[in-house]
């Protein structure tokens, strides 16, 4: 009887724990920024930002995304995929040195940020195929 009581109260305690982070703490929360940035970013040997953005848009369309927002000055493309689930993707293209462009992609699956390197790898593989360039890892 008392063991059951304890197990129930521990369970309730666990439920309570998951909800006890304050709402404000999420504003600037996130994983390890350096590690995350490294697998969300690839460098490409081109300086044609416009073409890279158009390839990003074409790749996102190939992958089933609809383009929500674009900004050429910022090099920004945002898209959403709906396929039983929802993925929101933000891609930013910017110059990297004199001869390269850096492309950074970040995605949210339903309401969770994707912090697994594999989906990003798949995206950059598809993007590289679209623009006939190899996506290079950056440090």
């Amino acid at each position: 009887m008392s063991i059951r009581f304890y197990s129930v109260s521990i369970m309730i305690g666990l439920l309570f724990l998951t909800g006890c982070a304050t709402q404000d703490s999420h504003v600037l929360s996130g994983g390890s920024a350096v590690e995350l940035r490294s697998f969300q970013t690839r460098a490409f040997d081109t300086t044609d930002k416009h073409k890279m953005m158009r390839s990003t848009i074409a790749t996102l369309q190939d992958l089933g995304f609809i383009i929500d927002k674009t900004d050429e000055d910022l090099g920004l493309v945002t898209g959403t995929k709906l396929s039983g689930y929802k993925i929101r993707m933000t891609v930013i293209v910017r110059p990297r040195g004199e001869t390269q462009l850096a492309v950074r992609a970040s995605a949210i699956y339903n309401n969770e940020p994707i912090e697994d390197p594999l989906p990003y790898q798949d995206f950059f593989t598809a993007l590289g195929k679209g623009i006939f360039l190899t996506a290079q890892k950056v440090d």
Binding site: I3, S7, L63, E72
Partner: protein
């Protein structure tokens, strides 16, 4: 003693299940992989127009979508992007009949599809095969809410008939022929 052990086991199980629930939101493996049918999809969703005027194709696209009751969410002539959306009815007679029959048999009220938001995206790219032509590609998605106000489905709409009907309208609006890739 045995009782205590089994209770402890139950506790450990509960703990593991709790951990599993919090960690099980993994994304589908193929979410960012090009589907085998992606080339075919692209062909169905695209038409070639003999112009390099992004502005013409996009303003015509916008007016076609306006005619259909869409509001424009995003436009960028330089990148050749136009996105629009509209709210529409999503009630399905068959589904309602099914829900009524189920309610009569079991007494349980099942929610049915009620409203949908349709999103259309038109992208213009230069044609790789013909330097004087552009390729217009359309993709459509929808979000469906049920009678309880919850999202019941989110999906892409793959319908060659809808693509064809849209490009016919776009062709009329631009006075240009829409050719298959």
């Amino acid at each position: 003693m045995i009782d205590f052990l089994s209770a402890r086991r139950a506790l450990v199980c509960t703990f593991l299940i709790c951990m599993f629930i919090t960690g099980c939101a993994s994304i589908p493996k193929d979410a960012f992989k090009l589907p085998p049918a992606s080339l075919e999809d692209r062909q169905l969703q695209s038409r070639v127009f003999n112009t390099l005027d992004n502005g013409l194709l996009l303003t015509s696209g916008a007016s076609v979508l306006q005619d259909l009751g869409y509001s424009i969410d995003e436009s960028n002539v330089g990148l050749g992007v136009l996105s629009a959306s509209k709210q529409a009815d999503a009630t399905d007679a068959g589904q309602i009949v099914g829900a009524v029959v189920l309610a009569l048999l079991t007494g349980a009220v099942t929610p049915t599809d009620d409203e949908q938001k349709i999103r259309v995206c038109l992208v213009i790219q230069e044609s790789l095969d013909d330097p004087d032509s552009s390729v217009a590609r359309i993709t459509i998605q929808r979000i469906i809410w049920n009678t309880q106000g919850r999202v019941s489905r989110v999906e892409s709409i793959n319908s060659p008939e809808l693509y064809q009907a849209f490009f016919e309208k776009l062709s009329k609006a631009t006075f240009l022929e829409a050719n298959l890739i």
